[in-house]
């Protein structure tokens, strides 16, 4: 069963994507679209293939068949390091910060794709003449200020509470000024207050930016998403507004059928 929503402007979409690893079908004809300027959710029980969808979109995994389209054009041979330049930014499950770099350095890295000077020129450039270096630094600090973590700039990730690390990771994703943000479980491991704040933050990015959210915390998903896609066992089983998805029998069955040990899913049921 395939769902085709009236997507006026899918900024990023997968078309009939199938992926298998060693005979195991991970994704089966998955077509999902992310309308421009929306917060779109991608949910499903564990092992449904949500992260694989991200991996296909960012070129980590090559699908057996199907295609990814971005701004109406097919993406092929995408080099991962080109993504930020194309306006696609992704956060990873967990934190994904470099433990030996300060928060500021971590965020500055996010702007790497926008550094134009060649490696030799950059390597030879002395710090006091390096205007580009300063520019990157200012952008990083602006992003950190937006996320409220500028005061942590000189600390190492290991010295910060987990929710603060998550914010730094978000700042790194924002610093390249992306059109699309792919957020992989941004609320994982953070408390209720931080989650509310995160929800407000995500809403504040649209419609200037477009967000795809993979998240287990249903309260957050239901609160911030305009559109939700539901995956189960590699297939799209439902799509629609939070209200529609909440009441969809197929979704209820998928979550009820799971040997559930995570409280989060009860919100759906």
């Amino acid at each position: 069963m395939k769902y085709h929503l009236p997507l006026t402007h899918p900024l990023l979409q997968t078309v009939d994507i199938s992926v298998s690893f060693g005979g195991l079908q991970i994704l089966d004809d998955v077509s999902i679209g992310i309308p421009e300027g929306s917060v779109t959710g991608l949910i499903g029980p564990n092992g449904a293939g949500k992260t694989t969808v991200f991996n296909v979109m960012t070129g980590f995994v090559k699908p057996d068949s199907g295609k990814v389209k971005y701004e109406g054009n097919r993406l092929r041979h995408v080099k991962t390091h080109h993504l930020t330049k194309m306006g696609i930014s992704r956060t990873l499950q967990g934190v994904g910060l470099f433990p030996s770099l300060t928060a500021r350095e971590n965020v500055m890295l996010g702007a790497s794709g926008h550094v134009r000077s060649g490696i030799v020129a950059d390597a030879l450039a002395m710090p006091w003449t390096d205007a580009e270096q300063r520019h990157v630094r200012e952008k990083a600090e602006a992003a950190m200020a937006e996320l409220g973590v500028l005061s942590e700039a000189d600390r190492l990730p290991g010295e910060m509470p987990y929710p603060v690390q998550k914010r730094v990771a978000l700042a790194r994703a924002l610093v390249s000024d992306p059109k699309v943000l792919l957020l992989d479980e941004p609320a994982g491991g953070i408390g209720a207050a931080d989650m509310q704040e995160l929800g407000r933050l995500i809403r504040s990015w649209v419609p200037e930016r477009t967000v795809l959210l993979v998240e287990h915390h249903m309260e957050l998903v239901m609160e911030v998403c305009d559109l939700i896609w539901v995956l189960d066992a590699g297939k799209v089983i439902a799509a629609g507004s939070p209200e529609e998805v909440r009441n969809d029998p197929a979704v209820l069955a998928a979550y009820l059928g799971e040997d559930d040990h995570e409280d989060d899913h009860e919100a759906v049921i």
């Binding site: 770099l101 500055m108 890295l109 390597a123 710090p127 390096d130 580009e132 270096q133």
Partner: protein, 292 residues
């Protein structure tokens, strides 16, 4: 006591050079997770180039500069020609392949310049300073070596901590996938790591040659010392490479002074074994432990 001071003074410049060699090994390890056993073969080769340039032009300094450029180029060539293709198949295969590069370079040098040891005289006076009525085992040349190493290490630390490319190199070394997601062109950083390592090794070669002689295999022994220093320092720590490079130089000087210089490699290997037994991840490493 005065012996002890003499030995230490005598070990400073060779320690500084070992620090450079260890630094080169660490730079390559950080970029491609390969121990480049050909590093000092590359340095030997570029030192021969320096010698040739020096004989043709009479300028030690020009020889050094050309050797540095050659070191950069040789590093890039080895990376593209040998490491990248082999590493695609197998990482440990790439490490073995560096031995092949070492042997090939030694054979090539013997073919081009002959296998006999050649003198590589120091550019300035290498006899010890006189003070307090005695001659100390520290010469103007030792001072030049020390100054060169300090300048190079400072320049590298500026590149690594104050420039975008240095930041990108550190990130690529730690987690290539996340670095790529952040827009870092990781493959370029790997090449750059090999290039800088080649340059650093070339400087080490030109500086160390006057302390003995130059032959296709005369740097081999330094591989033992540099490898020991790099591993004890943590193999991915630039600070560790410098600190333990100098430390290894001093230990070797003491061992050579109090016993015989032929015992130095043995002592280095003992240090290496002790390190692997008690602190296998190295002293300055970011990682918790390493499989050895």
């Amino acid at each position: 006591m005065i012996d002890f001071i003499d030995y230490l003074l005598g070990g400073i410049s060779s320690g500084a050079i070992i620090a450079l060699m260890a630094l080169a090994l660490v730079l390559v390890w950080r970029s491609t997770r390969v121990v480049n056993f050909a590093q000092l073969g590359q340095a030997m080769f570029t030192t021969y180039i320096a010698l040739t340039v020096r004989e043709l032009t009479g300028s030690w300094f020009l020889g050094l500069i050309i050797a540095m450029a050659a070191g950069l180029i040789v590093g890039v060539i080895v990376h593209f020609l040998v490491i990248r293709p082999v590493k695609r198949l197998d990482t440990s295969g790439a490490i073995i392949a560096t031995f092949g590069v070492l042997i090939a370079l030694e054979a090539l040098a013997a073919m081009v310049w002959g296998g006999d040891p050649e003198a590589f005289p120091p550019p300035i006076n290498n006899s010890g300073y006189e003070a307090f009525g005695r001659i100390w085992p520290f010469s103007p040349y030792d001072l030049l070596v020390l100054a060169s190493v300090v300048v190079l290490v400072l320049a590298l630390s500026v590149v690594f901590t104050r420039t975008n490319v240095g930041l990108a190199m550190r990130a690529s070394a730690f987690n290539p996938e996340v670095a790529r997601l952040s827009g870092v062109r990781v493959n370029r950083m790997l090449v750059l790591g090999w290039a800088i390592a080649g340059l650093v090794g070339a400087v080490a070669g030109v500086l160390v040659a006057p302390l003995s002689t130059l032959s296709p295999t005369s740097f081999d022994i330094f591989l033992v010392f540099a490898f020991t220093a790099a591993v004890i320092g943590g193999l991915d720590s630039l600070v560790g490479a410098v600190a333990f490079g100098i430390g290894t130089g001093l230990v070797i000087a003491l061992v050579s002074g109090y016993s015989d210089s032929s015992n130095a490699p043995l002592v280095a290997l003992v240090l290496l074994v002790l390190n692997l037994l008690f602190k296998p991840e190295g002293v300055f490493s970011h990682h918790k432990a390493r499989a050895v």
